[in-house]
């Protein structure tokens, strides 16, 4: 199979011979060539996004309000600061920039590949829509900027300026310090004092401007009576500065301005690097939630009108053009369509939808336009919920991080005491070395690396997993997941699509329709995945009353004056072997038997194989009948498969495993298995789209594919390994270095350098987690061997 020359996806057989996978990519490539920007393919380091059909995306920029809000008149024409979504590497930014510059009326275009911000200078009055079209034709998207991004930019600039002041100040300070070290004794006292006063003049801005974040932090820590790192840093910096000022004024033996400025500089540098790296690892989720279109076409009384997304209310009917993203959750009103849900679920392939199916905000309708009815809008949409869930999990401080924090906070007090002891001891032994030794202890002991060890790793892994549709809802789940040695899988909805279809119906021909209608009435509103198979057969005249759902067995109720039972033969009360078919019976007489077909997912076998490859035992627990469970187990190579297990039975099975000392992860659909998921050490829910809101689990696979289970476990183990390495390194380093510093064997500057190096090492180690590792054998390869 060939890879598309533009986006890198496989070229389908129907287009064999073409270098492009679809008409869109071919068009984008032609457009790139037309603009004379073929260099893009040579320079890029990531494949380009799949282009979307232009008109719809660009049309939202036709609204005058958007232009008014984002364009202002400048000295040399109109200026606009916008954002471009979909940039994958620096070459993308270059391509968009050049393409825009080539447009008539564009005087200047500058696109920042890191922040995705686009600056435009335009001929006055030039409309934005054609430019948005250019961007869309290349496969990217033009977005209005948000204020938060501007604030972030300001913060970054301020941080850089502080760093520069500290850096330049440190260089110059070292120069004076050097002169004093080597020539201080030979100098006339007047020159020596002059150099010291100059050192003071240089150190003051470094300590009080560049070091302001530390001073502020220390004040906050004191106010809350919770000593932390900033207090330690501030103590050492202020001690060095104050002692030096005193010595300068009274003409003492030595000054340590160089140590003070160097602490500030090295700490700032470490912090800046650490923040940059972390920001980059985390950027994804937030930007995705903002990527929804700002407008939609509302259909009302037969007319279509373009309205802002905020004006849409639940129940509105919207028209979605081909390749337009929906800005609300809704239900599909047209017969069928394929949707790209990658924004919400991380799933790259389009998903086929039927009338009545849920359409997620952010999903893009492929190939043709459809109508949807809004069911959730604004902050209630699945995508917004997803962003909130991830943000909440990230905001949580998991047990390990809290532990490291408490340890770091406690050690600050101990270290301050150690520094005081050092000072007193040296004061008695050799007063001249008291200040440098104390400074070295303070600088060397700062437990920065210790408090970074856990959060840095978690931030990296959360972001990486979320981008692939694996959402951690419980901050502690990762730790438990790493210890799992046994995975219990539910069949329906987890290994199968959970979208059952009605197969053969065994009933008297005359009774067939009525039997289906009765079954449909009974199953109406039942949340089990199989229940929806009957939905097309609902007859409005038949309504079930007194419906009782027996989880894992069937449903009973009164329809048309008679008491019906729908389920396995035992539940329905009729004789006969349990062959997996549902029996509809009344008073022990069967009216019909239904065969429901729920094929395995294409990637289930790969998912189970990946679990085995991780050395995990898998157990299949299903409420389904034995023949079908056995068949599925055989195909998936699961040795331990149990059929006809009631939810209570599942609970007991999990409890029995736990009693035997196993650590169990349970994967289910999250709605019918809630109790078992809660009981297991880690509950993993497969939740596509709308179901996300109700799911109770530690981990949710929004991608609706079981391969995420093995990925999550593998990443959890890797995270555990990295956190252990980090904690071990940080504590070993601090324990080893403090005594050395206390005995005066370590100059203060070297202590500071070592501490910063240690922090950086920990951060860089954690960032290895931001790159996904491949755990499964290629899923698609296996899927082709095994029929679905």
């Amino acid at each position: 199979m060939n890879a598309c020359r533009h986006c890198g996806e496989a070229v389908p057989a129907t287009r064999a011979g073409s270098p492009w996978c679809c008409a869109g990519c071919a068009a984008a490539a032609a457009f790139v060539a037309e603009l004379g920007l073929d260099d893009f393919y040579r320079l890029r380091s990531a494949p380009a996004p799949v282009p979307r059909e232009d008109a719809a995306l660009a049309r939202e920029w036709d609204a005058p309000a958007l232009r008014v809000a984002n364009v202002r008149a400048g000295r040399d024409g109109d200026e606009a600061l916008l954002e471009v979504d979909g940039l994958r590497c620096a070459a993308c930014a270059w391509l968009v920039e050049r393409a825009l510059r080539a447009q008539p009326g564009v005087r200047e275009a500058a696109l920042n590949g890191t922040t995705a911000r686009l600056f435009l200078r335009l001929d006055p009055g030039l409309p934005l829509a054609p430019l948005a079209l250019v961007v869309a034709r290349l496969g990217y998207r033009l977005l209005p900027p948000d204020a938060a991004a501007a604030a972030r930019l300001r913060t970054r600039r301020t941080a850089l300026k502080r760093l520069a002041v500290a850096g330049i100040g440190t260089l110059q300070s070292m120069m004076f310090a050097e002169a004093l070290y080597f020539g201080g004794d030979a100098m006339p006292p007047a020159v020596r004092d002059a150099l010291r006063w100059l050192g003071l003049a240089l150190a003051a801005p470094v300590v009080f401007y560049a070091g302001a974040p530390f001073l502020r932090g220390a004040r906050a820590e004191l106010a809350r009576a919770r000593p932390g790192m900033d207090l330690l840093v501030t103590t050492s910096v202020l001690l060095a500065f104050a002692a030096s000022v005193v010595e300068t004024v009274r003409g003492g033996a030595a000054v340590w301005f160089d140590a003070a400025v160097m602490f500030v500089f090295l700490l700032l540098a470490t912090r800046t690097v650490e923040q940059r790296l972390r920001e980059r690892a985390q950027a994804g989720v937030e930007r995705r939630a903002r990527a929804l279109p700002a407008q939609a076409t509302r259909l009302r009384d037969g007319t279509a009108e373009l309205v802002p997304a905020e004006a849409i209310v639940v129940g509105d009917e919207l028209a979605l053009r081909a390749d337009e993203a929906s800005c609300v959750d809704g239900t599909l009103l047209d017969a069928c369509a394929a949707f790209d849900e990658s924004l919400a679920t991380g799933e790259a392939l389009p998903v086929a939808k039927r009338r009545g199916d849920a359409v997620l905000a952010g999903s893009v309708c492929r190939e043709r336009g459809v109508r949807i009815r809004a069911t959730r809008v604004g902050a209630d949409t699945t995508l917004a919920l997803l962003a909130r869930l991830v943000a909440r999990a990230q905001a949580q401080r998991p047990r390990l991080a809290r532990l490291a924090d408490r340890f770091a906070s406690a050690s600050v007090v101990v270290l301050l005491a150690a520094a005081a002891l050092t000072a007193i001891a040296w004061q008695l032994a050799d007063p001249a070395r008291a200040v440098p030794a104390t400074l070295a202890v303070l600088a060397a002991s700062c437990p920065c690396a210790l408090s970074l060890a856990v959060p840095a790793a978690l931030a990296a892994v959360h972001g990486q997993l979320a981008a692939r549709g694996v959402l951690l809802l419980d901050g502690d789940a990762l730790e438990r997941l790493a210890n799992v040695d046994c995975v219990v899988l539910d069949k329906t909805g987890t290994l199968t699509r959970g979208r059952a279809q009605l197969g053969t119906v065994d009933a008297e021909p005359a009774e067939r329709t009525r039997a289906l209608a009765i079954a449909a009435a009974l199953e109406h509103g039942v949340p089990h995945p199989l229940a929806r198979a009957f939905a097309p057969h609902v007859d409005a005249r038949l309504v079930a009353s007194d419906v009782r759902v027996v989880a894992g067995q069937g449903v009973a109720g009164i329809v048309d004056g008679r008491r019906w039972r729908l389920g396995g033969p035992a539940f329905a009360g009729v004789a006969g072997e349990d062959d997996g078919r549902l029996v509809l019976a009344s008073d022990g007489v069967a009216l019909a038997r239904f065969a429901l077909e729920d094929p395995l997912r294409a990637d289930s076998a790969a998912a189970v194989a990946a679990l085995h490859a991780l050395g995990l035992e898998t157990i299949l627990l299903s409420g389904d009948a034995a023949p079908r469970v056995a068949q599925a187990a055989q195909r998936l190579a699961i040795a331990d498969a149990r059929a006809r297990v009631t939810p209570d039975g599942k609970l007991q099975a999990v409890a029995a495993l736990q009693a035997a000392g196993r650590r169990v992860a349970m994967a289910g659909d999250g709605l019918n298995d809630a109790a078992v998921l809660a009981r297991a050490d880690v509950g993993i829910a497969m939740a596509a789209g709308a179901a996300l809101a109700q799911v109770r689990a530690d981990l949710v696979l929004a991608g609706d594919s079981p391969t995420g289970i093995a990925q999550a476990i593998a990443e959890a183990r890797r995270t555990r390994r990295v956190m252990r390495q980090n904690l071990a390194w940080a504590s070993a380093y601090n324990l080893a270095i403090v005594p050395i510093a206390a005995f005066g064997l370590l100059p203060p500057w070297l202590a500071a350098l070592g501490m910063c190096g240690s922090s950086l090492l920990v951060t860089l180690n954690a960032l290895r987690l931001a790159r996904p590792m491949r755990v499964a054998p290629l899923p698609s390869a296996i899927a082709q061997v095994l029929p679905a």
Binding site: L43, A93, L202
Partner: protein, 51 residues
Amino acid sequence: MNALLVLIPVSLVLVGIAVWAFFWAANDGQFDDLETPALAPLLEDAQETPE
């Protein structure tokens, strides 16, 4: 020692200039994007090629 009397003020002036230049550059957005411009020298300049 007379050299010091000249050189030290000169170095302080240079420090002042360096800080001022850096502040100007940061405010001007010179450090906002540290990746894209790295590609610029590798590219043909599109405007110079005839249409």
